[in-house]
Amino acid sequence: MYAVEMQHITKRFGHFTANHQVDFQVHEGEIHALIGENGAGKSTLMRILYGFYTPDAGQIYINGREVKIQKPSDAITLGVGMVHQHFMLIPPLTVTENIILGKEETNRLGILNLPLAAKQLTELSQTYRLHIDPSAKIEQVSIGFQQRIEILKILYRNAQIIILDEPTPILTPQEIDDLFKVLLQLKSEGKTIILITHKLSEVMTISNRITIMRHGKIVGTRETKSTTQTELARLMIGEEIGPPISKRPFIAHKDILIMEQVSAKGDRGVLAVRNVSLNVKEGEIIGIAGVEGNGQSELVQVIAGLRPFQVGEISIGSHSLSPTHGHQALAHIPEDRLRFGLILDFTLQENLILGRQQELRFRHYYFLQDSETRSYSSELIHSFDIRPEELSLPARNFSGGNQQKIVVARELSKNVPLIVASQPTRGLDIRAIDFIHNSLISERNKGKAILLVSSDLGEILKLSDRIAVMYEGEITKVFLTADTDEREIGMYMTGAKKKSA
C-alpha cells in the first residue's frame, strides 16, 4: 500500500498539457524526490495532490483509499501539506497569524486567542528546532526564517504527507543542512516527504527513491542507491548535452570597457561600489564572482547608466561616460529580466526591438515599420530558438527560459562592442542554460567584450577568461581562470582572503 498513489492524472491548461497520464507512487515514511526540468510538470502534479488544481482525468489514493481532492482544505483534512516554491506568507501579518490562518484558535464567538496559539507554536518550534519568533512580522524576517514558518504551518496542521516545492535554491548551504536535518527527523517520525527539486546532488544525499518527469510525463522511478547522477540527468533531459563551443584564442588587446577608481552609492546611500578599476578587452569574458549583495548589482547598474556614480571615470570604446546619464553603447542582460528586461504585456515582436524602435529600419517617419520588424523578429526567433514562434504573443506567456532568450536575442543582436550579462541563466533549465552559454561564447569569439556577473561559481569558471572577485564593494582579486580554482576564489568571496596590499 502506498501513502500516495496518483493514477492516470492528466491536466491541461488551454492547449498545453502539463500532466499527461501520470502514474506516481510514494511509500509511507520515505523521502521521495520528484525531479525534472522547469516546465516538466512537477509542480502541477503536486498542486493537484494539494487540491490547488483539479485534474482533468485520473484518480488519487491516500493510504490506499480513493479520495476526491477538489480544494486545498480537502488535502489539509487528509493530512497533506505543501511548502510552495513562492512562499505563501502575508507580509503585514505576524508569524503567529500566518501560521494559524485557516485553523485559528478561537472562543465560541470567533474571537482569536493569539497568546494560546503563540504558546503552541513555540512548543512546536522547539520540538523540531525550527526557531522562530511568533510575534515578528513577515516583512522583517529572513528567507530562511520564512521557510521555517512555512514548514511550521504544515506541522501545525499535523500533516503526514509533506510536499516541498524547490525549497533549496534560496537557502545558504548552512540553511540547507538545517532543512535536511528537519526532513530526516520528520521521516524518522514516519511522515512521508515529497521533495521537488532539480539539484541532483541534493537528491542523491537525502532521498530514498526518485521519480523523474519530462514534458508532463513520468519517465522513470529509481531507488536512490541504485542510480547515478549521470543516469538521472539523462532521464531528465532526454538526450546528452553536447560539449560547449570552444573558445577561440583571442590576441587583440584593445580595451573596450575601462573603469578607473569608480565609486557609487547603493540604495541606502552608503557606498556599494568602492574604488573599482577594471578593464575588459575585446574578445574576453570577465566574470565577476562574489556572494550576492557585495556590490555586483550596483556595479552593473553603473556601467549600464542606470545608477549615477560619485567618483571615477568610465569609458566604453572611445566614449567617456557621464556620471549621471545613460547611454546606448552596450548590450545589457539585466539581473531581473521580468522587471528590466521585458515589458511583459508587450508582444514578442515588440520586445525584440524594444529600445531600437527609433532606428530607421524599424520606422517610417513616426510610424512603426511592421513588415520590416516582423521579418527581423522572425530571424531572431529562428536563430535563438525562441518558442513558441508567435510574434504576437505577450512576453508574459512565455516560459522563463524563452523569456530570457528574448532578452538575450535582442541584446546580443545589437551592434555594440560591450555586453554586460548579469545572472544570465538564473532559474533556467539545463538546455536554456547551455544555449545562453554558447551564445555568450560565440559573441566573445566575434571579438565582443563581455562582463559576466553570476552567483553561480560554476558558470563563472566555465565561461570566463579572467575572474574578478568582489567583496564588500571592492574588487579584491583578479585571476586568470586557468590559474585558479573554486576553492581559492571561495576564500576571496567570503573575505577570508583579502587584497594583497
Partner: protein, 299 residues
C-alpha cells in the same frame, strides 16, 4: 467669527454631517480589506435613501424604512460583488456602472411612485431620544449606532477569525487559498457588509431630510471612500477622517453665510481631501491585493 464656530450648534452640525461619511467609510474598510474596491458607495447611498423613503411612505414606520434602506444597500452591493468577485470583472467599471444605474433607477421609480422625478412626498423622520434635551444631537440614535459600529468593526477586523481571514484575502489571496480559505466567500461578505453600512447611511439621509430628492447622495459616497483611504483602511482612521470632513463642511456652511464667494467656500472639503492626500497623512498603503480580481494562475 470664532463664536460662530466655537459653540454647541456647530459641533452638533459637524457630527450630523459626518454620519453619512462615517458609515459608508466603515463599510468600505471591510470591502477593501477583503480586496474589493467599492466606488459604488455613491450609488448604494442613493438607492438605499430611496428605498427608505418608499418604505416609510407606505408603512409610516421608520424602522421598516431603515430595514428597506439596509436591504437595498445589501442588494446593490451583491450586484457589485457578483460582477467583480464571481465574474472577476474590473471593480472600478462595475462601480461606475452601479453609480450611473442608481441615478437612473431612483429617478424612474420616483416618477412612478411620487409623480415627480426630482422629489418624493414628505415622510416622517426620526424621533429624537429626549434624555438630554439640551444637546439634541446626542439624542440622535444614528450617532450612537455609528459609534457602536465603529467599535464592533475595529474589534471584528483585528481580533476575530473573520477579520484575520478577511485581511488575509485582501493581502495575499493565493496564500489564503492554499490554507483552505474561500477567497470568493470572504470577498462577498466584505462587499455585502459595505452595502449594509452604506444602506444605513442612505436611510439616515432620507430620514434626516424627510424626503428623497434626485441625486441626494451628492458625492458623499466618494468622500466616504476618501475618508477610508485617509484613515489608512482602518475603522478608527476612517471615522476620524469622516469627522474631519464633517467639520470642514460645517465650517464651509458657516463661512458661506458670512461671505459673498459661497461657491468657492463650498470647495473646502474637497480641497482638504486633496491636500491631505498629497502629503499630510504620509504614504497610504492599501491592502496588497486591493482591486485585483483573484484568479488561480494557469500553468
Amino acid at each position: 467669527m470664532l463664536e460662530s464656530i466655537l459653540n454647541i450648534a456647530f459641533l452638533a452640525q459637524s457630527l450630523r454631517i459626518s454620519i453619512p461619511y462615517a458609515l459608508p467609510a466603515l463599510g468600505a474598510t471591510f470591502s477593501e480589506r477583503g480586496g474589493v474596491v467599492n466606488i459604488a458607495l455613491e450609488g448604494i447611498l442613493l438607492i438605499s435613501a430611496f428605498a427608505t423613503t418608499v418604505g416609510v411612505f407606505y408603512t409610516e414606520s421608520v424602522l421598516v424604512g431603515i430595514l428597506c434602506g439596509i436591504s437595498a444597500g445589501i442588494l446593490t452591493a451583491l450586484f457589485h460583488s457578483i460582477v467583480s468577485v464571481t465574474f472577476k470583472a474590473d471593480q472600478i467599471v462595475s462601480g461606475i456602472g452601479i453609480n450611473l444605474f442608481a441615478l437612473g433607477i431612483t429617478k424612474f421609480f420616483c416618477q412612478l411612485i411620487f409623480n415627480s422625478s426630482s422629489n418624493s412626498a414628505r415622510i416622517v423622520g426620526l424621533e429624537q431620544w429626549t434624555f438630554l434635551p439640551a444637546l439634541p444631537i446626542l439624542g440622535n440614535p444614528f450617532l450612537f449606532c455609528t459609534l457602536f459600529l465603529l467599535l464592533i468593526s475595529h474589534f471584528t477586523l483585528f481580533r476575530t477569525r473573520f477579520g484575520l481571514r478577511l485581511r488575509a484575502v485582501g493581502e495575499h489571496p493565493e496564500a489564503a487559498d492554499t490554507l483552505g480559505i474561500s477567497v470568493d466567500k470572504m470577498r462577498h461578505i466584505g462587499v455585502l457588509l459595505s452595502g449594509a453600512f452604506t444602506g444605513l447611511a442612505g436611510a439616515w439621509l432620507a430620514l434626516d431630510q424627510h424626503s428623497f430628492t434626485d441625486g441626494m447622495a451628492a458625492g458623499r459616497g466618494f468622500i466616504a471612500l476618501a475618508a477610508m483611504i485617509i484613515g489608512k483602511w482602518t475603522p478608527i482612521g476612517a471615522v476620524a477622517a469622516s469627522l474631519l470632513f464633517g467639520f470642514a463642511e460645517s465650517l464651509s456652511l458657516v463661512l458661506q453665510e458670512q461671505s459673498n464667494v459661497a461657491q468657492l467656500i463650498q470647495m473646502i472639503p474637497y480641497l482638504l481631501t486633496m491636500i491631505i492626500l498629497c502629503g499630510f497623512i504620509g504614504r497610504a498603503t492599501a491592502p496588497a491585493a486591493d482591486g485585483i480580481p483573484y484568479e488561480k494562475e494557469s500553468a
